[in-house]
């Protein structure tokens, strides 16, 4: 979509002149001593636009409105989306940022509204802010197309009288998942007219619906389709997703219907220069590099001084604030306006965003620093350069951020500055490989038991289940077990009539209020400051036993607090400000037991074959105590006791039972080998989580041994390496790890090799002192070297860079 941009004042083209992008890059590369730090410097050639004519079936008024905006043709993916949607097929458009995805889903809907006064559409955005942003754009479009149906955002902030008007009269409703789940679906009887006319449902930013949130959303969508069917509708789903590896499979798993995926973009892209800067190593033993934040500041500053509009992404709020401060200090030092740099924080209203955009266009702001708040579709215009300070965790995220760079017909810069975190180093090691590398997959498991049961409660509240009825793609035979369970709990009542059996909700509670779409298991814990009874933060329940046990030192915003009391039953932790000279580190004892093996196979490298399995396991994590570790020197100051019940769950896992002969053949004692396996498991967890777009904390690792024996003769129990999903019921990751097991070990090997440390470090195999064990290390072999040797024997160690 073109923009009618008013370029006030003189605009310099970045590619020429003594100032400008080209000059800055040349300057950077001209320093010989930093040559090795530039791990990648490539130009991606431009791509031409590919057009298709405006469809004939577009209402004339709408066609004219588009022409007036300068759109006489559509991109091929927009035209194809329109064609498929009009034919009643659900679509996911998975093209890069700024390729006109909104128009792809808006056009079929405008056509439907123009031809049928009773047609309705529902737009779902992951956040309220996005919904409100799109509301304006949509209203403008409706007006220009001469349509009288309104578009209203229906969320927690919508006032009561506006709600009734929205339900009864509005042609388009914009909302978010939480409102759909708790505010709309349970009251669907009051929305009868809307659902009866529902032709289209738009799901934007589909890739954000993954993991736990995605599994919940899949069930909300099952309920939505069920409610629509009750009122006589079967809407077509129009989805937009960032580039991920499996857009079609992901969409089909979420929606339970066949979906067409459009990944080829017809939008033109100008030439782009991709660079990766890896700060130099300062301490090889600990694997520490020069500060990536400082490097990012230095490089951004060079861009700002050269007049290049830059967008800088930081990994955390703290990182953003730090970079902002350093940049402004430099500007002041050079007697330039510190307001040239602006920090973008979440929660800005559309007005504020327009102002920022305007200032950027006019040169009043040259640089915006942000966390991932801007990663979602919120628009502040395009920039000349994007700098990512730290790798965002997935290639999909990286490309989405990079996608902001590039105005029409002007070259742009995409620059990644890697930190010393293992994933960052892994990407740096691949250098150009990642450019052609596959982006990550998004996974969900709509049939996660605990999540499913929650939504069965909500669904039966919405309308009774009838015998033989399926729930999305879950057949009644399975569904019935869940309904029977809820009957045993006393919240469902089964009755039989002439039409057969039915299951009615009879409890007095309102089930949607008890379901959080972002967690499974227990609710978050609240951390309360005892000084002023203020709530400091919330924490996921799975981290509470290691982070919030009594006497733990909890860090928040750079300050330390000590946990005085943990009220487990009420989900509250009470803390007090302290200024200790140490921090605490919980010692966790993890136990995994196999419940059911679902699939088995082998890992085939060029060497020794390795068995591999996946299935359901029972996990128990118990904090047995904690260490007090002095800041800076890291000396151990002592231990403390922790008395907490263990954290238990059933979840899927991927495991490798190592063959005896392989391990015995290694030149090390049994305990050293097991220690190396633990290190390897940790590396595997890091690369495994990255490949599946997950938070590493959602994937646990352990090596189970029967006894910690010193030598092989005394024990025949083989160690088993587990990678388990640390989410009750899992979200479909273990199966995927199993499918890609060989690749997993190859990538682990690559990360291990490329880590700058000698013996192993927190970035790869873990701190030198083993966690949770007091095994001494022998002098000859380090954990890292032993792990690499094992991988070599398996024929999985790589000696060259591979993607």
């Amino acid at each position: 979509m073109s923009r009618t941009e008013a370029f006030a004042g003189e605009r310099r083209k970045p590619w020429d002149g003594t100032r400008g992008l080209e000059a800055v890059c040349a300057e950077w590369r001209s320093h010989a001593q930093s040559a090795r730090e530039w791990v990648l410097d490539e130009v991606l050639p431009p791509t031409e636009a590919r057009y298709a004519p405006l469809p004939n079936s577009l209402p004339p008024a709408l066609g004219q409105a588009l022409v007036q905006r300068g759109l006489e043709r559509l991109y091929i993916h927009q035209a194809e989306a329109y064609r498929l949607a009009s034919a009643g097929r659900s679509v996911v458009v998975a093209t890069p940022t700024a390729s006109g995805k909104s128009l792809a889903y808006n056009l079929p809907i405008l056509e439907a509204l123009a031809s049928d006064a009773s047609a309705r559409a529902l737009y779902v955005f992951p956040t309220k802010a996005l919904a409100r942003d799109q509301e304006e754009a949509l209203r403008t479009l409706l007006r220009e197309a001469g349509l009288s149906q309104g578009a209203v955002t229906y969320d927690g902030d919508t006032p009561a009288d506006a709600r009734r008007a929205a339900r009864e009269a509005s042609g388009v409703i914009l909302t978010n998942p939480d409102m759909l789940h708790a505010g709309i679906l349970p009251h669907h009887a009051a929305w009868a007219r809307f659902f009866a006319g529902l032709r289209y449902v738009v799901l934007d930013e589909l890739h954000t619906y993954r993991g736990v949130f995605g599994s919940h959303m899949a069930n909300v969508l099952r309920r939505l389709r069920r409610v629509a069917r009750f009122h006589g509708a079967d809407p077509v789903f129009l989805c937009a997703s960032a580039t991920i590896r499996n857009p079609r499979a992901h969409a089909e798993r979420l929606l339970g219907v066949p979906v067409e995926a459009l990944s080829e973009s017809g939008a033109p892209i100008a030439a782009r220069r991709v660079m990766v800067y890896n700060p130099p190593v300062l301490n090889a033993e600990l694997g520490i590099r020069a500060s990536y934040l400082k490097a990012s500041v230095r490089l951004s500053y060079d861009l700002v001084r050269a007049g290049v509009t830059t967008l800088v992404f930081g990994q955390s709020r703290n990182g953003v604030e730090t970079m902002l401060k350093y940049l402004r200090d430099r500007l002041r030092r050079d007697r330039l306006d510190p307001e040239l740099v602006f920090a973008y924080r979440g929660g800005y209203l559309p007005d504020t965003r327009r102002r920022i955009e305007k200032k950027m266009r006019e040169g009043e702001i040259r640089c915006v620093v942000s966390t991932n708040a801007l990663e979602l579709g919120i628009d502040i215009g395009a920039v000349d350069a994007v700098l990512c300070a730290g790798y965002p965790g997935t290639l999909a995220s990286l490309w989405q951020r990079f996608g902001r760079a590039g105005r029409r017909n002007q070259g742009s810069l995409m620059l990644l500055v890697t930190s010393s975190a293992p994933m960052d180093q892994y990407v740096a090691a691949q250098a150009g490989g990642f450019l052609s590398g596959a982006v990550e997959e998004a996974r969900v498991d709509p049939d996660n038991v605990e999540i499913l049961l929650q939504h069965l409660k909500c669904a039966s509240f919405e309308m009774p289940f009838r015998s033989g009825e399926d729930f999305g793609d879950l057949p009644f035979e399975e569904l019935h077990e869940g309904l029977a369970y809820l009957g045993r709990q006393g919240v469902l009542h089964e009755s039989t009539s002439a039409q057969g059996a039915s299951f009615h909700w009879i409890a007095e509670s309102y089930p949607a209020n008890q379901v959080s779409l972002r967690s499974v298991g227990l609710d978050n814990f609240v951390i309360i400051d005892l000084e002023d009874s203020r709530t400091l933060a919330e924490m996921d329940w799975r981290s509470t036993h290691t982070m919030l046990h009594e006497q733990a030192i909890y860090q928040h915003d750079g300050e330390q607090y000590q946990v005085e009391r943990l009220d487990f039953d009420n989900h509250k932790a009470y803390v007090r400000r302290v200024e200790p000279d140490y921090y605490t580190d919980a010692m966790t004892y993890t136990k995994v037991g196999i419940l059911e093996e679902l699939q088995g196979g082998e890992l085939k490298g060029e060497g020794h074959p390795l068995p591999a399995r996946w299935g359901e396991v029972e996990i128990e994590e118990k904090v047995v105590g904690y260490k007090k570790i002095r800041f800076h020197t890291h000396e151990n100051l002592g231990y403390g006791e922790v008395h907490l019940p263990p954290m238990q769950m059933h979840a899927p896992a991927f495991w490798i039972p190592f063959p005896e002969e392989l391990l015995r053949a290694l030149p090390a004692t049994r305990s050293q080998v097991i220690d190396a396996l633990r290190g390897l498991a940790r590396v595997m967890r890091t690369v495994g989580a990255a490949g599946l777009m997950m938070d590493p904390r959602d994937l646990g690792y352990t090596v189970e041994v029967e006894q910690a024996e010193e030598d092989w003769s005394q024990s025949s129990a083989l160690p088993i390496l587990y990678l388990f999903e640390r989410i009750p019921g899992g979200v479909g990751l273990a199966a995927r790890l199993f499918d890609q097991r060989s690749d997993l070990l190859r990538r682990a090997s690559l990360l291990l090799r490329e880590c700058a440390c000698d013996e192993g470090c927190p970035a790869c195999t873990g701190p030198l002192q083993s966690e949770g064990s007091a095994l001494p290390l022998g002098p000859a072999w380090s954990r890292k070297k032993l792990a690499l040797l094992l991988l070599e024997r398996l024929g999985l160690a790589t000696s060259h860079h591979e993607s």
Partner: protein, 464 residues
């Protein structure tokens, strides 16, 4: 996918709630039956061979309503030998094309009283009184003899598509009798039958009367029609007695039971608490014992009768000569009439209170009446009258009310009667009635105006 085996595994490990298996499970069910029976006031002895279990109260503080109930009611209960006990009957059940209809009917003579209010007062009231009470002019066309009183008991208070109305209490007049009918939902599968019966009743009514029904009962019933895919009955006027009561009742709770006690002099004995009703219905669905709901039926029945009586009682002051209504109440009704637009009735009422209270030297009441008279005068644009009443009220005013009266008087003197000196005198004493800066501005303005209007002392007179 083996959802069943996963669920059983999770139950086995205690990771999701599970009903306890084996003998303890039987105890838990007996527990809930006993609890339900205790709540419903039904006591019975164990038939031979079944040992009544004693419930142990846990030492810790109960963390839920159920546990609190268990603790409160857990006691050894005797079970009546079922051979001797008469079977509990209530209403009759018959088949309809859409399922079972279970209904209970009663007739009451209209001269019968509920508390102190005869039921017929509701039937005999004039539509004009009704319109005034509800502040709804269109009700003038409604015949109270064709009213349908309606009250529901439901499975939950949060609304939404999953809440059922399991008991609908109805009442209407038929000549010299008040018919009371209760429709009971024997199970969710029979809802269509209940709704058909209800729809027929609504069809014939001239107006629906409820207590908080506009916000709660009616939207819920509308939802039920949608959920059963039945055509909604045609829209009818709706009189919500809660809204009416709030306008005319003195300070205090407007819960139906409270109003019944205060206005109708009716005290319920052993009434069930609303919060427990949904649980009793659940117990009924499990046990299929109608007697568990005995108290609920009674509660609903009283609610319906109460509404009929309440309508009569609330319209009484509009139906009878003013003197028959207690003075303070009369003032509230006067205000209501004024809001409705019936100025003459409002004036009659308030004048009668003023006269009486003056005669009885009931100072506070007289003061209130005068204030209302002033208000009505202002509304009618009669500022001289308003001033008259305000001045008289001032003489009776308690200290705290003087400033506001004086302010009002000052404004009238200044703007309507151009008596600036009096205006200033009253304004000076009204400092507390408004914000400091505004007060100063007022005084300053009055002084200025007075200074301008006074002829200059020596010097030629100018023609003004």
């Amino acid at each position: 996918m083996r959802l069943g085996s996963k669920i059983r595994r999770l139950e086995g490990s205690g990771l999701i709630p599970a009903p306890r298996s084996g003998a303890p499970k039987a105890a838990e069910e007996a527990l809930s039956t006993q609890r339900a029976e205790s709540l419903s006031g039904v006591h019975s002895e164990a038939p031979q061979g079944l040992v009544a279990r004693e419930l142990s109260t846990p030492g810790s503080r109960p963390s839920s309503l159920s546990e609190a109930l268990r603790a409160a009611f857990g006691s050894r209960t005797r079970r009546v030998n079922t051979e001797d006990a008469p079977a509990y009957t209530w209403g009759r059940c018959f088949e309809s094309p859409w399922g079972l209809v279970h209904q209970h009917e009663e007739r009451h003579a209209t001269h019968q009283v509920h508390g102190n209010a005869p039921l017929q007062h509701a039937r005999d009231l004039r539509p004009e009184s009704l319109a005034c009470l509800a502040l709804e002019a269109s009700l003038i066309d409604c015949d109270p003899a064709e009213f349908l009183f309606i009250d529901t008991e439901t499975t939950g208070l949060m609304g939404g598509s999953g809440t059922l109305a399991f008991l609908v209490g109805l009442a209407w007049f038929e000549g010299d009798a008040l018919c009371l009918q209760q429709l009971f939902l024997r199970g969710p599968e029979h809802e269509a039958a209940l709704l058909h019966t209800l729809a027929a009743k609504i069809e014939r009514a001239s107006c629906l009367v409820s207590f908080n029904g506009k916000s709660y009962d009616w939207p819920l019933l509308r939802n039920r029609f949608v959920m059963q895919r039945l055509a909604l009955p045609a829209a009818k006027p709706h009189l919500d007695l809660l809204h009416c009561a709030r306008r005319v009742v003195a300070q205090g709770s407007c819960r139906l039971v409270e109003l019944e006690s205060r206005l109708l002099d009716f005290e319920r004995q052993g009434d069930i608490e609303g919060a427990l009703i949904p649980e009793l219905y659940r117990a009924y669905l499990r046990e299929r014992k109608l007697e568990l709901l005995g108290k609920v039926f009674e509660h609903n029945r009283l609610d319906v009768l109460s509404m009929v009586a309440l309508l009569g009682r609330l319209s009484r002051p509009l139906e009878t000569p003013p003197q028959q209504t207690e003075a303070a109440e009369r003032l509230r009704y006067a205000r209501l009439c004024s809001r409705y637009g019936d100025e003459s009735q409002a004036l009659d009422m308030v004048r009668s209170v003023a006269v009486e209270s003056q005669a009885q030297r009931a100072q506070a009441l007289h003061f209130d009446a005068l204030c209302l008279q002033a208000e009505l005068a202002r509304k009618g644009g009669r500022s001289k009258e308003e001033l008259f009443y305000l001045l008289r009220a001032l003489r009776l005013a308690p200290g705290g009310r003087c400033p506001e009266l004086r302010l009002r008087i000052a404004k009238l003197y200044e703007h309507r009667h151009t008596d600036l000196h009096r205006a200033l005198r009253h304004a000076r004493a009204a400092a507390q009635a408004e914000e400091a800066s505004r007060h100063e501005r007022r005084i300053a303005r009055l002084e200025r105006r007075i200074a301008r209007s006074t002829p200059p002392a020596p010097g030629p007179r100018f023609r003004t």
